[in-house]
Structures are given as structure tokens and as C-alpha cells.
Amino acid sequence: MTGVDSSAESPAVALESARSPITAAVGRFCLEQVETARDLYRVFVVTLYYSVRGEPNRKAFFRQMYEIGNRSLIFLCIVMGFIGMILVYQGGLQTQRVVPDLSLLGATFLQLLVRDLAASICALMLATRVGAGIAAEIGSMVVTEQVDALRMCATDPIDYLIRPRFLACLSVFGALVVIAAGVAFLAGMWTGYAFFGINPRTFANMSMVGPGDLTIGLTKCVAYGAAIPIISGYCGLTAFGGSEGVGAATTRAVVNSSLAVIILNFVISGTGYLIFG
């Protein structure tokens, strides 16, 4: 089966009887990580397969778009608005210590926003809100045996549950990032005007945003948008053991999606810097 049903004879168990406890612990840990990575990869590939070949399920797709997109919008806008104000305020204070001229503050802020912060902070917030939501929903379906019922009906839970969430998150994430970046920029512009007297026209300076910055930002949008639903869906599907299990799955989903966002950010930023400078 394509599923994530944990096989009974995992290699991790075979190490149980090893002699040195430290080696056994390290080995068990490594094997578990490898197994998890392989399962995640399998879920990802199967989701991609169903996305291309499966029958479109529009109703579920639009419901998930509403659930992931519209219902996160206010939360994201509040967070990004405050982030914009904080960054411009702190950045302005620090820049004043070194150079008195603040006219490039807006241009630098916009570049930073496009290149990194808009996508990454949105992704961290979405990993929290949407990731926890997906894992809690799928996890409670698993422990109440609804997912087994799906399997009994010859429906793959990856096709029925994860695919709509994956496609919806992928398509809605870019729009969310653009809106949230706009809010953050406006909040930053207001802060620059109110605290440092920077003219909004001077602040809205797009000269430093190049095609490289846009490419890096959009790559991040796609990568995060794909990673969050896959990881949280996987954590939900591997839930076991009643309400405690649902809680544990939700925790794992939030932690693992956030870690994935941070690591992907490092990889994409590093690659982008080496390519575009």
C-alpha cells in the first residue's frame, strides 16, 4: 500500500538487542530519521501523483482554500503588520547610530521583505495555524478510525485528505504572502513617517528589488506552500492512541513544519545568494 502504516519489523527494533547502549541509541535515532524521511518522501510523491492523475475534487479543494487562505488572512495581516512596524523601528534606530541618512531604509526594507521575510514569517505563522489544523483534523480522523473506513472504501487517504490540502495550500500561499507583504510594507511606511519623518514617497523605493530577489521570494513561496501540508498531513496520518495521540501529532506537525521552513529558508537563501549575489 502507499500508506504510512508503520511496518511492524522496522530496522530500529532490530537494534534493541545491540550490546553498547549508546551506539544502539544513536543508531536507532538515525534509522528512525531515515525511515521518517523515506515515509515523508513517499507521501510527497504519492500526493504529486494523485495531483496529476487523480480525479479533481473541486468541492474539497475550494473548501480547503477557504479554510487555509481566507481564515488565515486576518491572523497573517495582524502579525505581518506588527513585524513591519517592529523592523522599521528597530532598523531605523540602529542605522541612526552608524549613518544619519535614512533615505535608503525603505528600499532596504522592501528588498528584505521580498527576498526573505514576507515568505518566511508567513510560512512560520501558517505552519503554526494551518499545520496544527491539518494535523489535528486528520489525526482525530485517524484515532476515530475514519481513515480506516476510507481505506475500507478503497479510497487512499492521501488522495482524499492530503491532496486537496496540498493543492489548496500551494495555490493560496502565494496570494497570502503578497497581501501580507503589502500590509507589512504599509505598516513600515507609517512607522518610518511617524517616528523618523521619512517621506512615504522616499520610503516606497523599489530600486533595490531585482529579478533575483523576486525569484528567491517566489521559490520560497512554492517550497513552503508544498512542505507545510505534506509534513502536517504526514504527522496527522501517523497519529495513534486517542486524544493524547492527536495532541502529540499536532505538536509534531507544528515543530517539524517550522523546522522545515527554517532549513528550507537557509538552503534557498544560500543558493540564491550564490546564484544572484
Partner: protein, 263 residues
């Protein structure tokens, strides 16, 4: 809408959500006063506090380490174009250092602890609530706030404070070596940039003061939503979701207010 008619119709959705919001705020306030009363009187379970510190603090170290190292690297990569434009390699330490110490390290550590410890705490308290273990404690005349909630609240605050110190140091380490890798800036130059006098203890204290407030937010909201859980396994999932969202929003809003209050 139809208040004048006197019939008890469904409340308007907006007023219902305002009422829900106010009830959460009220619940948080009551819980905070209960916790503080017991913390001041030292009327809580010490063994439980130590056990929670181990589970929440020590077990979070791997996540905090990974997050901090990568965050430091990201800060340097983001500062790299600016550094190269002005050729100011000596300022890299200052640029990455001030952003890390004042904002990014406390903020990201709080978000990770929120995801790992806050969510886990809600899940545990929520499970205890829906399986009526909390009611059992009350039936045995054991005060759940003194036995369960106060030790967890205190240990989340302590955990976040110590993790922030830890991740400050590790993020700067990650930044120094990312600077060496991507920009060819010697780590020695980086550390000198940190210590030339543009950064002071005030910047570190600023971040640490924030981390205490963030810890209070996360601890309070995770305990409140955990105890307010209802409705079996799906209810636990809903509570965990509500906690992480409320804590994350609270952390960002308070971060903004504190940035003004402390500067």
C-alpha cells in the same frame, strides 16, 4: 438585530465572536491571578516543577540548537548584499548581532517553544480534562492550579528564558561561520564587530526581557486552552490549534509594544 422584539433568537455572529474573545481574555486574567497567588505563596508542587523543567527545557535543546544555528546563518545571508555594497565587512558582526540579539533570536525561540512545549502542554492538560483526570484531582481535594498549572507555567517561563540565552550564543556562532562560508569574513573579524562598542549589554537584556514576557504569554495561553478543552479527541486538536495561534499572535503584538517600552 432583533433585540426589541424580546425573542431569544440566535446571537449575531459578530457579537458571538466578541463574546468568545472576551471570555478568553477573562479566563486568561483569572488564571493568571490564580497562578501568581500560588507562585508568590510558593504553594505549588516542587517535584512537578523539576520534572516539567526536564521535559520542557532539556528535551527542547535539539530543536533550539538547530533553529538558532540556521537562523544565524540566514541573518548573515540576508545582510550579505548590504555588506558587499558598502564593503563594510567589519560591520557584519554588528548588523547580524543586533538583529539577532534584539529581535530574531527571542522571537524564533519563542515560536519554536510555542510549537513544541506550548502545544504539548495544551495537549496534555486537554487530555487530562477530557478524560476527567482534573475533576478527579478536585475530588481528591488536590488543587489543580497548584499541582498542574503553576509548575507548568513557571517552567515554561524559565525554559524560554534559558533557551533564549542559549540560542543567542548559538545564533551568533552560526552567523560567524556562515559569514566565513558565504562572504569570506574571518570569524575573528565577526566577533570584533560584535564587541567594538556599537552593541552593549542593553541589547542582550532587551532580548531577554522580551523572552520572559513571551514565556508568560505562551504558558498562560497553553494552560488556559488546555483546561478549557471539551469534546474528546477532536476537542484536544482544536485546543492545541487555538493555543498556538493565540500565543503566536500574542507574541508578535507584545513584541511590538515591548520594543517601544524598552527602547
Amino acid at each position: 438585530m432583533q433585540v426589541e422584539t424580546g425573542t431569544r433568537s440566535q446571537p449575531h455572529p459578530l457579537s458571538a465572536s466578541v463574546a468568545r474573545f472576551l471570555s478568553v481574555v477573562g479566563g486568561l486574567g483569572v488564571l493568571l491571578s490564580e497562578i501568581l497567588r500560588r507562585a508568590v505563596r510558593r504553594d505549588f508542587d516542587r517535584a512537578e516543577l523539576l520534572r516539567n523543567l526536564y521535559r520542557m527545557g532539556l528535551k527542547s535543546l535539539p530543536i533550539v540548537t538547530v533553529t538558532a544555528l540556521f537562523t544565524g546563518g540566514i541573518m548573515v545571508i540576508q545582510a550579505a548584499p548590504i555588506v558587499q555594497r558598502y564593503g563594510a565587512q567589519g560591520l557584519l558582526g554588528w548588523g547580524a548581532g543586533f538583529g539577532t540579539l534584539r529581535e530574531i533570536a527571542p522571537l524564533l525561540t519563542a515560536l519554536m517553544i510555542n510549537g513544541r512545549v506550548g502545544a504539548n502542554n495544551t495537549a496534555e492538560l486537554g487530555t487530562m480534562t477530557v478524560t476527567e483526570q482534573v475533576d478527579a484531582l478536585r475530588a481528591l481535594a488536590i488543587d489543580p492550579v497548584a499541582f498542574l498549572v503553576t509548575p507548568r507555567f513557571l517552567s515554561i517561563v524559565i525554559t524560554l528564558f534559558l533557551s533564549t540565552i542559549f540560542s543567542d550564543a548559538l545564533a551568533l556562532l552560526g552567523a560567524a561561520y556562515a559569514g566565513a562560508g558565504f562572504l569570506g569574513v574571518d570569524p575573528g573579524v565577526f566577533y570584533r564587530g560584535l564587541t567594538t562598542g556599537l552593541l552593549g549589554f542593553g541589547d542582550v537584556a532587551h532580548g531577554l526581557a522580551k523572552s520572559i514576557v513571551f514565556g508568560c504569554v505562551i504558558g498562560l495561553s497553553s494552560c488556559h486552552f488546555g483546561l478549557a478543552t471539551s469534546g474528546g479527541a477532536p476537542g484536544v486538536g482544536r485546543s492545541v490549534n487555538a493555543t498556538v495561534v493565540a500565543s503566536a499572535a500574542g507574541v508578535f503584538v507584545l513584541d511590538y509594544l515591548l520594543s517601544f517600552a524598552l527602547s
